[in-house]
Subunit: 289 residues, 2 copies
C-alpha cells in the first residue's frame, strides 16, 4: 500500500500545471484506499505491475468523483478538510476531476491491457449514471428502495466490482463480491450520515436530508413519519434527523447492509485472500467513518 501512495502521487504529478496541483491537494487529504485494497486482495498471484496500475486507476477514478460530487453538492468539507472547489474555485475543481479521470485511463492504458481499460470505462459509465440518477431522485421521498439500491450499485458497487475484477483478472465471483460489498458500504455510509459525528466521519451529518438525497434510512423513516417525508421533499428540516433516529429506519438499514455483506461473503469461495475479504465485509458495515 505504501507503493500505491507513491504511484498515486506520481500519476497525478506527471503533467505539471494547475489541474495537477488541485488534484494532488485532493489526494493528500488521504482516504481509506479501499478500492486499491480490493484490487490487491482479489489477486491470485498476479502481475504486480497490473495490480499497482489497477489500484492506482480505481482510486484516481474514486477521487475524481469525490471532487466532482463535492462541487455539485456544494459540500465544503471532505475528510475533515475543505473540498477542492471551495479552496480553488468551481472551474479548477471541474478540471481537476476531469484530469483525475484522464490520469486513471492513462495509467491503465500503459499496461496495454484493453480488457482492463474496458472494465474501468464500464465502471465510470456506471458512476456517471448513478450520479445522474441521484439528481433525478433528489427531493423525491417516493423513490423506491429498489431504485435506491440500483443507485448504490451504480454509484459505489460498480467501482468496487471493477477493482475486484481488475485484481483477479476478471473473476466473476470476486466481481459479485465487490458489487455486494459496495452496496453494503454505501448503505452504511448513508446510515453514518444520519447518525455519525463530524469528528469521526469528517463530514457534516444530515447532509443527505438537507440535500434531499433519498437514502435507505431516510426513505424508511419517511414511510413512517410525515415530518421526515416533508423534510426529504424540501420542507423544513428542524427536528427531522432526530425523528429518523426515533424510527426503526436505522436498524432496518443496518440489517440490509448486513445482508449485502453476507451476500458478498458467499461469493468469496476459495480466493487466496479469503479471510481478509471476509473481514472487510464486517468492517464496511461496522465503521465510524
Amino acid at each position: 500500500m505504501a507503493e500505491l501512495e507513491v504511484r498515486l502521487a506520481e500519476a497525478v504529478g506527471r503533467r505539471p500545471g494547475f489541474a495537477s496541483e488541485v488534484a494532488a491537494e485532493a489526494l493528500s487529504a488521504g482516504g481509506k484506499r479501499l478500492r486499491p485494497l480490493l484490487c490487491f486482495l482479489s489477486s491470485r498471484n498476479g502481475d504486480d505491475e497490473l495490480l499497482l496500475a489497477a489500484g492506482t486507476a480505481t482510486e484516481l477514478v474514486h477521487m475524481a468523483t469525490l471532487v466532482h460530487d463535492d462541487l455539485v453538492d456544494g459540500a465544503r468539507m471532505r475528510r475533515g478538510v475543505p473540498a477542492a472547489w471551495s479552496v480553488f474555485g468551481p472551474g479548477a475543481a471541474l478540471s481537476a476531476g476531469d484530469y483525475l479521470f484522464a490520469c486513471a485511463f492513462a495509467e491503465l492504458a500503459a499496461t496495454e491491457n484493453s480488457r482492463a481499460v474496458g472494465t474501468l470505462a464500464d465502471a465510470c459509465l456506471a458512476l456517471a449514471r448513478g450520479e445522474a440518477m441521484q439528481r433525478s431522485q433528489t427531493r423525491k421521498p417516493e423513490t423506491t428502495i429498489d431504485d435506491y439500491l440500483e443507485r448504490c450499485a451504480l454509484k459505489t458497487g460498480k467501482l468496487f466490482e471493477a477493482a475486484c475484477r481488475l485484481g483477479s483478472g476478471g473473476d466473476p465471483d470476486l466481481g459479485a463480491y465487490g458489487l455486494a460489498l459496495g452496496i453494503a458500504f454505501q448503505i452504511a455510509d448513508d446510515i453514518l450520515d444520519c447518525a455519525g459525528q463530524t469528528q469521526e466521519t469528517g463530514k457534516i451529518p444530515g447532509t443527505d436530508l438537507r440535500e434531499g438525497t433519498p437514502t435507505m434510512p431516510l426513505l424508511l423513516a419517511a414511510q413512517q413519519d410525515a415530518i421526515v417525508r416533508s423534510a426529504l421533499a424540501g420542507g423544513p428540516l428542524e427536528g427531522a434527523l432526530v425523528r429518523v433516529a426515533g424510527t426503526d429506519a436505522l436498524a432496518r438499514s443496518r440489517e440490509a447492509a448486513l445482508d449485502y455483506a453476507a451476500k458478498a461473503r458467499s461469493c468469496v469461495g476459495s480466493a487466496p485472500h479469503r479471510e481478509e475479504l471476509e473481514a472487510l465485509t464486517y468492517a464496511v458495515v461496522d465503521r465510524a467513518s
Copy 2:
C-alpha cells in the same frame, strides 16, 4: 460521416438513464464533427472499425468538454440552443460530461487497441490541463502570447493531434499536422468571439472579454489600449470590444492563425487525403462559425 452519427447516438444511448438523455440532447445540437473528420482523412487504408471507434471517441470527448465548459463558464447558449446545464441543471450537466468521457473510453477500449486508448487518455489529460490553465489565466492581461499558445495546444491542439494519430495509426507527421491545425482553429475561434455575430456562430460575441479569458486578439489589443486592458482585468466592458476592432489585433491574430495553418500544411507530406487535409487548413481560419 452518416455512419458516425449513428455510432455516436448508439454509444451514448447504450446505457439508459438521465445521464444518457442529457448527453443525447447535447449530441443532437450537432456540430462540425471535425475531430472524426480528421480521423477519417488521416487514415491510409485503415481498419474501418478502429476508425469509426476513434472518430466516435474523439467527438465524445469533445462533447464532454463542451458540456463541462458551458457549466463552469455559465454559458447559456451552445450552437444556438440552450446549454445542457441551463436546461437540466448543473449536476446533470456534470454527470453527463463524465458520462460522455466514459463513453469515449468504453468505445475505444472495445477495439482492444491499448495504444489508441493511451493516445486518447493523453489528449484528455491535456484538455483538463488546458482548462485549468485557462482558469489560472483568467483576468490576467499580462498573460504572454506563449502561454496563450500553450493553452491553445492543450485545449484544442492535442485532441486534433490525437484524432490524426488515431486515424493514421500513430503517424507523427499527421500528429504534428493536427496539433498545428488545432492551434490555428482556436485562434480563429477567439477572433470570431471578438468579431462574429450570434446568428452565424451560435454564440454570443464578446464572451471571452466578459469572462476575462485572455485570447490572442484581446492580449494584443490590451498591449495597445488601456481600456481593453482594464476590461480584460475585470473592469468596465463598455466600448471595449469596439476598441479591440480598432487596433490591429484582429489582423495580427489572423496572421498567426494563417502561420499555424501553413505549418500544418507543411506536415501533410504524401498522405492519401492530402488535398482534403490541406483544404481544411484554409477552412479552419476562414470560417464564419
